[in-house]
Amino acid sequence: MMSNIMRESHIMKIHYLTALVAVGFVIIHIMVRVMQGFSDSLLFDNVIANYKSIPYAVVLEAMLILISVHGFNGLRIILLELKQGSTYENAVTYGCLAAMIVLIAYGSRTIIMASMGMV
C-alpha cells in the first residue's frame, strides 16, 4: 500500500508544495503569454515556437508534472472520502498513480516532439 511507503503527511507536503510551485509557474506562463496579443499567441507557428524555446518548454514540462501530481492526489483524496474499504482504497490509490504517470508521459512526449520539430 502507498500509505505504507509514504506517510500521509509526506504526501500532503508534496500536495501543498506542488500547488504553490504550480501557481508560480502559471504566473510565469500567463506573463509570457500577455507579452504578445492574445490572438497572435494562438497562431500555430507561435505555439510551436513556444515549444522550441528550451526554457519555455521546461516551464511547460514543470507545469505538467506539478499539476498532474497535485490534481491526481486531490482526486485520490476525494474518492477515498466517498467510499472506504481496503480493495477500493488500493484501487483508487494505484489507479490515480497510474493515470498520473500516463498523463505525464503523454504530455512529455508532446512537449519533446514539438520542441524537436517532429510535429
Binding site: 506517510r7 500521509e8 503527511s9 500532503m12 483524496i77 477515498l80 472506504q84
Partner: protein, 266 residues
Amino acid sequence: MTKGGALPKGFERPSNSGSQEKYEEVKPSTKSITLRISKFNPEKDHAPSFLEFPVSYEKWTTVLDAILEVKNYHDHSIGVRYSCRQSSCGSCGMIINGKPKLACFTKISELDSNIVTVEPMNNFPIIRDLAVGFERMISTHKRIKPYIIREDSEISPGTKEFLQTPEDVEKYIQFASCIKCGLCNSACPTMATDSTFIGPQALAQAYRYIADNRDQGKDKRLKIIDERHGIWGCHFAGSCSQVCPKGVDPAMGIQLLRGYLLGYRK
C-alpha cells in the same frame, strides 16, 4: 441571602426596599410549544417518524425538561439518554431544530420557535429514538491514547508532582474541557461521508495531550493520526468548534496538530 446579592430565579427585588426586604414571587407566564420527537427503532422501523406533543414551558425550561415531561406523562416509550442535567456528563446530545446541541443546556425560550424538533445526532448509529451508540467515538478516543505517557511517574516513591506554569497549562486547558458528548462528530461533514475518519473529538484530544509538556507520547500519537483517514480528512469546515457546548475549539486543535506534522511546530 446578603443584601444586594443575586436573587434566585422567579424572584425580583422590590423597588422600595427598606430595612426589612420583602421579595415577591413573579407569577409564571406559561407559554407552550409543539415538541416533535423523532421515533425510530432500527429493529422494527424502516424510517424515522415524528410524534408531536404540546408542552408548556417557562423561561428556564430546557429541551431535556420538555422531553422528560413527555416521557413521564405522555409516552413512556421515548428513548433518550441523559444523566447530570447540567452539561457536565455529555449524555443528552441531540439535533435540536436542526443543530447539534445538549438538550439540558438548551432553553426552549432561547430557540425562538413554536415548534421544537428533536432528532438523534447525525453520524452515530441510532439505538432507539434519541439515543445513539457511542462505540465509534469511544474507540477513536481510546486510539489516540488519552492519557499522559511518560517513563517516570509522579506516584513513584521519592518523586514529586509534575509542576506546570500557567503558560504551560494555557496551551491545552480548553481542550481538557471536552465532555465527550459527540456534538463535534455529529456536526462534522467528513464524518458523514468517511466512515473511518478519526473525527474532531479524538483529534482535539490528541492535541490536548501532545500540547501538555508533561507528556512524552507525541511521536506515538502523531503516527496514529497521520494516516489515510486521519487528520488530513479534515476540510476545516469549523462546524465542530461552532457546536461545542464547552467552548472547545477542535478545528484549531486540528490545525495546530497539522503544524507538528508539516514541521513548522516542534
